[in-house]
């Protein structure tokens, strides 16, 4: 079954094996008129990064989407399954699930699935409900935890992103302010996290739908730090 035993010898390996699933980063920000879903673009195994332009979003409705991370096979399977289930509901009944119903349905499937076999999928679901004119954002983890939140994050990057969001998030932010806030989070992650996440993608969901993919690519040399002058000198040393 899915019982994993930690032997004394294997404990460190096991912990490392599980921890590496936290190397991806997801961020979600909800404001009064829009929701932003962001994910890092890296796809890799262990210490190898295979690509830096991986899509991690699944569009569920015109104004609802989710970003996923975790075991790559599980994430794609689950994402597609939820996507198609919701499409089936829509076709059969003639109307879509509300964001709240969709989130609860997804949680139910996650919990059901985990009781059958190991399933490591973490996700953030967000969107806009045209019936109530409200934005929506939900945190869900691989155990089937569901939380209705104003901002959230998954992965190691969440340790830094959540602190920044705690400090600066307001529900009445404009889109520009929110995009700046997202950039702040990304810069902090890139400054402080030992894992390199050079590229992030994000989507804005509002009453007109889901925007096209927008990318944040920050080059290491342009990172603004307090001791920027010192950094340049250090770089000079190596060249």
């Amino acid at each position: 079954g899915n019982v994993r035993r930690c032997t004394r010898v294997g404990a460190e390996v096991y912990t490392f094996f599980r921890e590496q699933r936290r190397m991806e980063c997801l961020i979600g920000i909800k404001c009064d008129t829009f929701t932003i879903l962001a994910h890092d673009n890296s796809a890799g195994r262990s210490v190898l990064v295979m690509k830096q332009n991986q899509d991690k979003i699944f569009k569920l409705e015109d104004q609802l989407a989710m970003v996923v991370c975790g075991d790559s096979g599980d994430t794609v399977y689950f994402g597609e399954f939820i996507q198609k289930s919701m499409a089936f509901y829509r076709i059969r009944n003639g109307y879509s699930l509300s964001p709240n119903a969709a989130a609860n349905y997804t949680r139910h499937e996650m919990a059901k699935r985990l009781r059958q076999y190991p399933n490591l999928v973490n996700l953030i679901m967000g969107g806009y409900d045209p019936k109530t004119n409200q934005t929506a954002l939900y945190f869900m983890d691989y155990l089937g935890t569901l939380a209705d939140v104003s901002f959230t994050s998954h992965g190691y990057g969440s340790y830094f992103a959540l602190s920044i969001l705690d400090r600066f998030h307001r529900s009445d932010m404009t889109l520009e302010e929110a995009e700046e806030l997202l950039l702040k989070c990304v810069l902090e992650i890139q400054k402080r996290l030992v894992i390199n996440l050079p590229s992030f993608s994000y989507y804005v969901i509002n009453e007109s739908g889901i925007s096209e993919k927008k990318t944040i690519n920050v080059e290491p040399a342009t990172k603004q730090t307090q001791s920027s002058e010192t950094r340049v000198e250090e770089m000079d040393v190596f060249t």
Binding site: Y95, N100, N104, H108, K131
Partner: protein
């Protein structure tokens, strides 16, 4: 000749009919009348109480009106034991939906699911169909107030006003004439009493013989709630009295006119 095609439900007759299903509908035609009317601010269900035996114990909620979920209720006509099984299934289906989606099941989906079950009994297994027709009233955010009817064949339809059970044809033809588009709930109640007067066997209509329930929405915005209410006996009696007074008033008017006509003739 038709006999040979009666014994199994899962067989068509040479004329292309399913006799067992039709016989089930016959059985329902002998059951107590159920009436449903859709108004612009609510829905009402009226049901004839057939068990007016004095020795029967008091009913807690209702004899013929079943609450299915926060947003839906139904009334049945036909074999009561079959009805109990079906309402149990309806309630369970509604809860299963709520468990997964954390919101009330949309009305048509619940009706559809039960009708799929009823249809199975006309196709597989060699079991007899359920001898029950059901009237559903409900509210959901997709289509607002809705009134549905389902029958033993597993067909269902959305209605503005309909009737099942004893004398339902008379009731439906009366509703066709009297129902005007989008009545208020008050007008619908008056119409229901009028129709019940015609369809009930007994001459004297009183609150003992009829059950009325209404479904309305109260409150505004996200705090709005669906309220399902069985109208208490006194209110029903008042409505009946109001109708009877109106009938009396009309009779008196007629008599006056007669007298006038006589008077003018004499002259």
């Amino acid at each position: 000749m038709a006999r040979r095609y009666d014994t199994k439900t899962t067989i068509f007759s040479p004329e292309g009919r399913l006799y067992q299903v039709e016989y089930a509908m016959e059985a329902i035609g002998h059951a107590g009348t159920c009436l449903g009317i859709l108004a612009e601010d609510g829905i009402l269900l009226a049901a004839e109480r057939k068990n007016t035996n004095k020795l029967l114990d008091d009913v807690i909620f209702s004899e013929k009106i079943y609450r299915l979920h926060d947003n839906m209720a139904c009334s049945v006509a036909g074999i009561t034991s079959d009805a109990n099984v079906l309402t149990g299934y309806l309630r369970q289906t509604a809860q299963k939906y709520h468990l997964i989606y954390q919101e009330c099941i949309p009305c048509e989906q619940l009706v559809m699911q039960l009708c799929d079950l009823k249809q199975q009994y006309t196709q597989f297994g060699g079991l007899r169909p359920f001898g029950v027709s059901i009237l559903y009233m409900g509210w959901d955010p997709h289509y607002g107030f809705q009134l549905y009817q389902s029958d033993p064949s597993g067909n269902y339809g959305g209605w503005k006003a309909t009737c099942i059970g004893n004398n339902h044809q008379a009731a439906i033809s009366m509703l066709k004439q009297e129902y005007k588009d989008t009545p208020t709930l008050k007008e619908a109640l008056d119409l229901a009493i009028k129709v019940l007067h015609k369809t009930l066997d007994s001459t004297k209509l009183n609150s003992e013989k009829v059950e009325l329930a209404s479904l309305t929405r109260e409150g505004e915005g996200p705090n709005a709630k669906t309220v399902i209410r069985v109208i208490p006996g006194e209110e029903v009696d008042e409505l009946i009295k109001k109708y009877q007074e109106m009938v009396e008033a009309k009779k008196r008017e007629e008599k006056e006119k007669e007298k006038e006509r006589e008077a003018t003739k004499m002259e």
